[in-house]
Amino acid sequence: MSDSLYQEIILDHYKNPHGRGLREPFDAEAHHVNPTCGDEITVRVATDGATLNDLSYDGQGCSISQASASVLYELLNGRRIEDAFAVEKSFVELMQSKGAIEPDEAVLGDGIAFVGVAKYPARIKCALLSWMAFKDALSRAVATTEGGSPS
């Protein structure tokens, strides 16, 4: 059952989240809320402007939003900034595809398990919650380091 939505990979990340917990130091933090269901996430990023040195998060929510934060960490932590943004873009595209895109495992890793979620309009926001917060935080961190005044 639940074939299309609750992939085994998603349940694994939900039950055993990777990289969870807020860590110091960090250069920017974003807190996002999904008002329809009350899911919340805080994402922190630490970067020198070139590499994502740490990505930490904490929050509460459904299996989809929690698993997607775990996948976010696993995929992007330690990556180069451009790569991180590129993966983020491709995950968002996947989620907005209504299931019409064939996801690329080389780019998205475990993220491909979310292809089924894209068919459930009510759950897409859950999957995107941590990714949106991440994008927010990273953009601000990059703007700050570029502005020449790292925190």
Binding site: M1, S2, L5, Y6, L11, Y14, P35, T36, C37, G38, D39, E40, Q60, G61, C62, S63, I64, Y120, R123, C126
Partner: protein, 422 residues
């Protein structure tokens, strides 16, 4: 597992009136619809009335001298009579058709906030209090926040006890001579709590405040007589009482409706229009700008007739017995915590709960995969979730077609949910 319920309704026969209940969902699951507090299903007689109206009597109302126009007007105004009778309104002119309960609630908040009333009792301003409760639907919170912002009036509210009841300990401190309007929900759409409206109305009237009741959840479920309720205004919505979408009702005492200034401007709400200025019709037309939801009002009349045919006392008794059964069943499911009154006293057929360690979204999704439709989220009553420190609840809600089998399917489903995420 089986517990006995006695209901005055012949539920099997009632179910035959609702074509959607025959629907098979994905995986060939039958539909177990436990989301009636969100919107109710529609019986065949209501659908037939809509079709008959559009295929035989469709015309605009009030402004035509031709036969179709007269028939449409008679049907539309006849629905007003039906609704007046349904809620015991002393006069048909006290029944205003709106598009939903939200519009009806906004109508009151906006006209009080507009500052256009002649009588200062109907003008909100600095120094005035608006009193609501923490268990309101957003549709009875946001309009008052906007009204307070516009006028400088202050918004105050009753809190909720741990048991899911209004905390009335401060009744006299909250409702004071500063209070101009008290607006509260009759039956909470998230907790199921039935509030003692008469008690609060009595205090409000003592200090000269207006009382508006949000009956979106109560009017569909119990016999309502506005004279007995002792309030000034009552809002409710058609789609939760077997009626079409797109139609709601505001009832108000004539004296109050006469004192309120117009809401929206346009065709039908005027007496005479000149470029330099206009005068307005008397209630109810004063508040019905533009072509009204004609077919929807007629459909709502048919819905009220359908419910009256079942008998509102029977509807109430049926939902009460299903609620008692459901509370019992849920008490047997490990990990379930009821949010709201957990005994079947002074509550309606809407039960919110949490399931330990599993997010409501996941509960709802897995239930849905077995054909069990519940609602998950904050149910447009986020302050209640905040009050209980939870992000959301799962909510099952019942109506005339709900059976004990539906409740059993829910309980089974919850066990599956736990196994799945366990």
């Amino acid at each position: 597992m089986a517990r006995e319920v006695t209901s005055p309704l012949d539920v099997d026969r009632v179910r035959k009136d609702f074509p959607i209940l025959q629907r098979r969902l994905a995986g060939d699951h039958p539909l177990v619809y436990l989301d009636s507090a969100n919107t109710s299903q529609k019986p065949q007689p209501v659908l037939d009335t809509l079709t008959e109206h559009y295929t035989r009597h469709n015309a605009n109302v009030a402004r035509a001298v031709h036969q179709l126009g007269e028939e449409a007007t008679a049907a539309y105004e006849g629905a007003r009579d039906t609704i007046a009778t349904f809620i015991g309104a002393p006069s048909r002119d006290e029944v205003i058709f709106a598009k939903n309960a939200s519009e009806a609630l906004n109508l009151v908040a906006n006209t009080l906030a507009s500052g256009l009333a002649d009588d200062p009792r109907y003008r909100l301003g600095p120094g005035d209090d608006i009193v609501i409760t923490e268990m309101e639907h957003h549709s009875n919170i946001v309009p008052w926040q906007l009204a307070a912002q516009r006028t400088g009036a202050r918004l105050r509210w009753f809190g909720i006890t741990d048991e899911g009841r209004l905390d009335l300990a401060q009744l006299d401190e909250l409702i004071t001579p500063r209070t101009k309007v008290v607006s509260l929900v009759h039956q909470s759409n998230i907790l199921g709590t039935l509030n003692d409206v008469a008690l609060i109305a009595a205090r409000a009237h003592e200090v000269g405040a207006l009382v508006l009741v949000d009956g979106a959840q109560s009017v569909p479920h119990m016999p309502i007589d506005v004279r007995e309720l002792g309030v000034d205004l009552l809002a409710f919505t058609g789609h939760k009482m077997c009626g079409p979408t797109g139609i709601g009702v505001l009832w108000g005492r004539s004296e109050v409706l006469d004192a309120l200034p117009p809401f929206l401007g346009g065709g039908e709400m005027i007496e005479t229009v000149a470029m330099e200025g206009s005068t307005f019709a008397a209630a109810p037309h004063k508040f019905e700008a533009g072509t009204p939801p004609i077919a929807q009002a007629v459909g709502l009349g048919a819905a009220a007739d359908y419910l009256s045919g079942l008998g509102m006392a029977h509807v109430n008794a049926h939902v009460e017995s299903i609620t008692a059964y459901a509370l019992n069943m849920l008490a047997d499911v490990d990990g379930v915590t009821i949010i709201g009154p957990d005994s079947p006293v002074d509550r309606g057929g809407t039960i919110s709960f949490t399931l330990d360690g599993i997010h409501p979204h996941d509960v709802g999704q897995v239930l849905d995969e077995h054909g069990v439709a519940v609602r998950v989220g904050h149910h447009c009553a986020r302050p209640v979730c905040v009050r209980y420190g939870i992000p959301a609840t799962t909510r099952a809600s019942f109506y005339v077609y709900t059976t004990t089998d539906d409740i059993d399917a829910l309980a089974d489903g919850l066990e599956r949910v736990k196994r799945f995420f366990g």
